[in-house]
Every structure is written in C-alpha cells, then in structure tokens.
C-alpha cells in the first residue's frame, strides 16, 4: 500500500493540509481546509508503521465505516474518507476546546461537576446507543465538549451546578471510534485480537470475555470515569493489558468511593457502584435512564450499594469462582430491543377535583403499559400553575407548602400501581404555562413516551387550545392522549 509524506501545504483529494495539531501513538491530527467548506476541519491519519499492523488497519477501517453512519451533536460531522490504497484518512469537523483529560488529571474535582459531566456523557451515550453503536473505549482523551450548548438544560430546582456546566460548555462529543461496534454491521474486530480490546482501567467484565455487543459496557467505563473524577483514584488501578491481569474484573468490586472521599453523597455512590456492577443486567437498563438519575439525584433509590463500607473481595471472588460469569453471548436481538423495551415514560397528572376521573383512567393505562416493558421507568409530573406576573404565595392559609401538598397527592395517586421505588419518580413543576413546562421536562429528560389526559373535545377548549393539544403538537416523543369515556347520551349529542 502506498503512503504519502504529508506536510503543510500539500493537497490530498482537494483538502489543503495545514499544521499538525496532535501527534498520538495511533494517529496524527492535521488542520485542513477545502474550498466550499466553511466549517473548521481536521484530518485524522492512522500511523501505520512498517510491517503494517493489521489490527491497526482494521480498527481504522471500522472507524471509517461507523463514523459516517452517525449523526447528532455527540459525534463530529464527517467530510471525507481516504482509501487505503493511497492514503487512509478521515476528515471531520474540528471540535474546539480540550478533551476531558486535562480536567481528569486534576481529580478529585467538585462533586457537582462530576455529576454534571456524568449526565452529559450519559446523554451522549444514549444518543450513540440509539443509533446502534457501542463505543467500547470510553476514556478521558476520547471525550470532548462543545463550546456552547445547543439548548440550556434545565435541572430540578435546588440542584443547578451552573459554574460546572459553563466550564465544560455544551454536549459531550466522542472522537475516537476505533474499537467501536455497530450492531447492524459485521464486527471487523471480532476475533482479530488475542487479548481483550479496550483500555485496561476502563474495560468492562464482558469485554474481558470478548463480548462486543452489550451497550451497558459503556456504562461501566463511565462508572470508572465518575469514580476517578470524584475520588482521584482509579477503582481497579491501572492493570497490565493482559488477559491474566484483566480476568480479575470478573469478580473485583472496587473500594466504596465514600471510604476515599467522605463527602460523596449516598446517591452518588449508589450510581457509581451500579455502573460498576460486574453483571450488565444489574447496571441501568439504558444510558438514558442513567442520565435521568444523574439529573434527579434527590430521587435515586438507595440500595445497600449506597452505604457500603467494605469491599467484599473474598465473597466476590468466591462468587466469581463458584458461579462463573454466564459466558453465553447475549442474543443480538436482545440488545437491539433494549432501548425500546426500557423507555422513560412520563405521565402528566391533573390533581384537581374535576380531573379525578381522568387521573384514574390515566393510571389504568400506565399500569398496563408498565407490565409490557418491565425495564421501563415512570416519571409522574404535576404542574403547579403560577401567575405570570408577581410572586405567588405558594402557601396554604395554614402554612403548609402547596408544593409539598401536591407532591404528597401525586405519590398518593401513584401508590395504587405498587411500583418498586427504583422505577418511579415524582416531580412538581412550577410554571405559568403548564404545556411549556411539560414539554421542557420531556425534552431535558429525554422522555420516550408522554401520557397526558384531555378533559374534553368540544366547545371553547378546541379554539383556545388545551394543554394536551399543545403537548401533542410540539413534543418530540411519542404522546398518548387519554380521554375519559363520555356518558353515551353526551357522546350522541
């Protein structure tokens, strides 16, 4: 295979080579320009040493295959691919700013920042997984952040790490897909490597077993990242990249992070240790659900993970030995279906006295939907309508908070469904515009399915517009409108 000597000023397929901006062990990055393309561009060129390491070539070919098939803010846009017969390259949008590596080296960092970073990376993972791609090599040097936000994420009141989010700007972007897997394409890397693929500190147990079709492997790597950012220590150290050293990952449980850093709240330890669970099925069903937890930390359901103070290394090791990890590869179909069988559902509940029959109909439908998707979770939302101008007194005459009262009513409404606490959360939003509040909540939390009641279909409501019509018109997700069946004589009229 022929190779060109690249230098500043040369031209390749119409791309004018600028200066080299990065020299890595696997690839180098050059600034390039091309007539007719305004966006700042970079060209990534694999370093193929003499003796042509076939695995390096295959990794780059896999990246060339996957990147152009991805869209959205969490991946760089692709402008050109170079053939292996002349000079392999990928020309992509230049993401300004630095990778997470610089900040990572400063760990431990403030916890609000850890949580904000985690939510952003989990959101980016959800987008990737929804496009049938698993990253499989998540680490600080592969993650960047866009300089500005596409939209400003609104978080629950009382939890707004404003400074932290400004530091890292907007959406997380992944920049290296050399070990990634596209679930609808042949895995070119399967069977190419004798040792497990990945980066030793981050690799998930199932990757050690060479399984490359589990989206939750990326959650494990994110768990390692969050652990390290919060404590300044790696949960599994920095082992050698050998099968023998990595096999420990199949039973190793890390030191609970709170033993290293006392002020880590129980919910954060819960989230981190759940991401780091040896078994993928005990992690979050989807990255989207993980992002939801990170955005609503006050509602994280705590298990024994949250308060764990010891590493049960002996117990874990024995369990690992006696009950060896299920080696049967996960069925591919199971992975595909996952995102759709583990949706985030949101139900908008009207708690006023006239809304009661409708709220009951809504609950009936929600209960039935929850049965068909056992990995789903439900966000119950009520909007407390406030005046557009001036301050409301959100207190009852007897001094109780209306907000708290609504929350209690909402929980009371949901109690009959008997959902385990880890599958349900409650949110009272305060807004002068209920439809807008519901839409913003659905968007920021990447809700898959929104259920809302509609009180009637006739009369004034049709012309003035109801909450449900606005939601149906503007929501980006699936919306189900529930009506209370009118009495027959009314329907006839």
């Amino acid at each position: 295979m022929g190779r060109m000597q690249l230098q500043t000023g040369t031209t390749l397929d119409g791309f004018v080579i600028g200066k080299k901006i990065h020299q890595g062990g696997m690839a180098e990055i050059w600034e390039v320009t091309k007539d007719g393309i305004e966006a700042p561009l970079v060209m990534k060129i694999p370093l193929i040493l003499d003796g042509d390491d076939p695995t390096m070539i295959v990794g780059f070919e896999q990246e060339q295959m996957i990147l152009p098939r991805l869209a959205g803010p969490h991946v760089p846009k692709i402008y050109g691919l170079g053939d292996f017969s002349i000079q392999p390259y990928i020309v992509m949008e230049r993401i300004d700013g630095e990778s997470l590596l610089k900040r990572f080296k400063e760990a431990p960092i403030p916890l609000a920042e850890v949580i904000d970073l985690g939510a952003k990376i989990a959101t980016a993972l959800a987008s990737l997984h929804a496009q049938d791609v698993i990253h499989l090599d998540l680490k600080p040097s592969n993650i960047m952040f866009r300089p500005t936000k596409a939209f400003s994420a609104k978080v629950d009141p009382g939890f707004a790490p404003e400074n932290a989010s400004e530091r890292h700007g907007g959406e997380a972007v992944f920049i290296d897909f050399g070990l990634s897997r596209h679930l609808k394409l042949p895995d070119l890397l399967a069977e190419e490597f004798r040792v497990p693929m990945g980066t030793a500190p981050y690799i998930a147990p199932e990757q050690v077993l060479k399984l490359r079709e589990e989206p939750r492997s990326d959650q494990f790597a994110l768990g390692v990242l969050l652990y390290t950012l919060a404590t300044g220590e790696r949960p599994f150290g920095n082992p050698k990249h050998t099968t023998k050293a990595l096999i420990r990952r199949l039973y190793e449980a890390p030191t609970p992070p709170r033993l290293i850093r006392k002020d880590i709240p129980d919910y954060l330890q819960e989230i981190i240790l759940r991401c780091l669970d040896v078994k993928p099925e005990r992690r979050y069903p989807t990255a989207r659900q993980l992002a939801f937890e990170l955005r609503h930390p006050e509602q994280v359901t705590l298990t024994d993970r949250a308060t764990r103070e010891k590493t049960h290394w002996l117990k874990n090791m024995l369990a690992g030995r006696l009950n060896p990890y299920d080696k049967a590869p996960l069925s591919r179909l199971e992975s595909y279906r996952h995102a759709s069988t583990a949706p985030i559902m949101m139900v908008a509940v009207d708690l006023s006295s006239e809304g009661v029959p409708l709220a009951e109909a809504l609950r009936d439908l929600v209960s039935r939907l929850l049965v068909t998707s056992p990995d789903s979770r439900l966000a119950c939302v009520n909007v407390l309508k406030t005046a557009r101008v001036g301050l409301d007194t959100l207190m009852e005459d007897d001094g109780t908070s209306i907000h708290v009262k609504r929350l209690v009513e909402l929980k009371n409404w949901a109690a009959e469904m008997r959902l385990p606490p880890e599958r349900i959360t409650f949110h009272v939003l305060e807004s002068p515009d209920p439809a807008e509040a519901l839409l913003t909540f659905a968007r920021n939390n990447h809700v898959d399915h929104l259920l809302v009641g509609a009180r009637g279909s006739g009369g004034v409501r049709r012309y003035l517009g109801s909450v449900s019509t606005a939601v149906v018109a503007e929501a980006a997700c699936t919306v189900t409108v529930v009506r209370k069946q009118a009495a027959e004589d009314e329907a006839e009229a």
């Binding site: 076939p54 295959v58 896999q62 295959m65 292996f84 609808k184 394409l185 070119l188 190419e192």
Partner: protein
C-alpha cells in the same frame, strides 16, 4: 457497477417476477443468476425462458445442482427433490434443457466470483452452513468477493486476519461495506424457496464501485405459488414450505 444477485429461483414464477419488478427501484446495471432456476416449483418453463431472456440481454448465469439434474443424474438427491426434477423434465423442451445444462460452473467479474454452492468444488454442491465450509470456499479462490446461493438463508462470511471465517446475519435493507482488509463470501437467500422463517423472496444488490452489499426481501403472492404446487401434484412439503418460509 451495481449487480443484482438472484439465487435459487426454483421455478417460482410469482417470486421471480416480484423480485424483477423490485429491481427497477435499485438502478442496477447487471443481473447475476446464482443457479437453481428450476426444481421444487411449479413453473420451470416460464422461469427458464425468463432466465434465457435475461442472459441474452447480458445477465450472468451459473449452473445449480437442480439445473444440472435436468439433463444429468438426480440419483443423489432426496426423494422430494428427485420427484420434482422428474416432473420438471416433462415440462421443459429441448432448448430449455440445453440452456440449463449449458450454464457455466463459475463466472468472474473483476474481484467478484459467482458460483452456485462453494468455490471449493463447484460440482461438489457443498452447503456453506458453518465456518468450516465458509473457510474452505474462501481459501479456494483468489477473488476478494464470492457470491453463492444453495443454502436458502442469507449470511455474510469473511476470513479474519487470524484465518477463521466469521458469519454475519445481514439486516434487510441495510448497506454493508465490504471492508478492504478482508475477503468476503456472501450467501444470498433464495428467491423462490426461503428457509429462514420469512416467506418473502430474498435477493441482494452488490455495488462494486462503493464496495458494498445490501440484502433485500420482497413479499410475493406465495399463496398462489403454493396452490400451483398442489395442483401440479408435486410433493406436499414443497407447498407447506412456501407458506412457512422454512
């Protein structure tokens, strides 16, 4: 250059016509018939004539074991296949038979080799159902791409750097790049008698310029074909197979 790959038509007129009609949407330059134009199905004369017409207009065609059995020996076939061959012989004229038995064993276009069963021994009719069979075929040729039928279930094989064959179950309608670092073996599903659980006719589009393949399915009126199989008095399993797709 975009080539439509059609295998195992098996005298199924309705499926063959449905696939040909669908090809209009795919802007193809060439058709390759990967063998078994006849056998099993109720319309051998129609399908043979259609194939002759295509080949006359430049289509590629290779011989399948059922095509070979029309003029040759069918004694090594199972009783159902043999019964269908015996029945078909009476419905094909001399010209049909000459065409079928005269089809070449293999054809080559640039990097691509076309053969009915396996590149290892074109007249051995070996089924590529696992990695060993795939590896044997992949090692038997210097072509970067080999395309076969015969198995009636679509599968895409490649030889890895470590020298083993790995299979990929293709997703319908999704373009798959045939990466340069590998040699590839595409098993194309059957037009006229699918056996992978779907009743829809299978075919594929090979794009030599983009170096990619896309597996496709098209539903057809398999109830009519099934009725014709029964009316012809062909063995009943050949009728139910079309209804079940396996």
């Amino acid at each position: 250059m975009r080539i439509a790959l059609l295998a195992d038509i098996h005298a199924n007129r309705e499926a063959f016509e449905a696939v040909l009609a669908r090809l209009d949407k795919h802007r193809i330059d060439q058709v390759a018939l990967l063998g078994d134009i006849v056998g099993y199905g109720p319309d051998p004369a129609f399908c043979t004539e259609k194939a002759m017409e295509l080949v006359e207009r430049g289509a590629l065609g290779v011989i399948g074991n059922h095509d070979a059995a029309i003029e040759g020996d069918s004694s090594d076939m199972n009783s159902i296949a043999r019964a269908a061959i015996d029945w078909s012989r009476g419905r094909l004229d001399a010209e049909h038979r000459r065409f079928l038995s005269g089809l070449p064993e293999t054809l080559r276009v640039g990097d691509a080799l076309f053969v009915h069963a396996s590149a290892r021994s074109p007249r051995g009719w070996e089924y590529i159902t696992g990695p060993q069979e795939a590896e044997r075929s992949l090692r038997a040729t210097d072509a970067r791409f080999t395309f076969v039928g015969h198995v009636h279930k679509p599968q895409l094989w490649r030889l890895t750097g470590l020298g083993v064959a790995i299979g990929h179950e293709p997703i319908t309608g999704f373009e798959i790049p045939l990466a340069k670092s590998f040699v590839w073996l595409g098993v194309i599903g059957a037009v006229g008698q699918p056996r992978d659980g779907s009743t829809a006719a299978a075919f594929a589009i090979l794009d030599l310029k983009r170096q990619s393949i896309q597996f496709e399915r098209v539903p057809y009126d398999h109830f009519t074909t099934c009725r014709k199989v029964r009316e012809a008095g062909l063995p009943e399993p050949l009728a139910t197979r079309l209804l079940r797709g396996r």
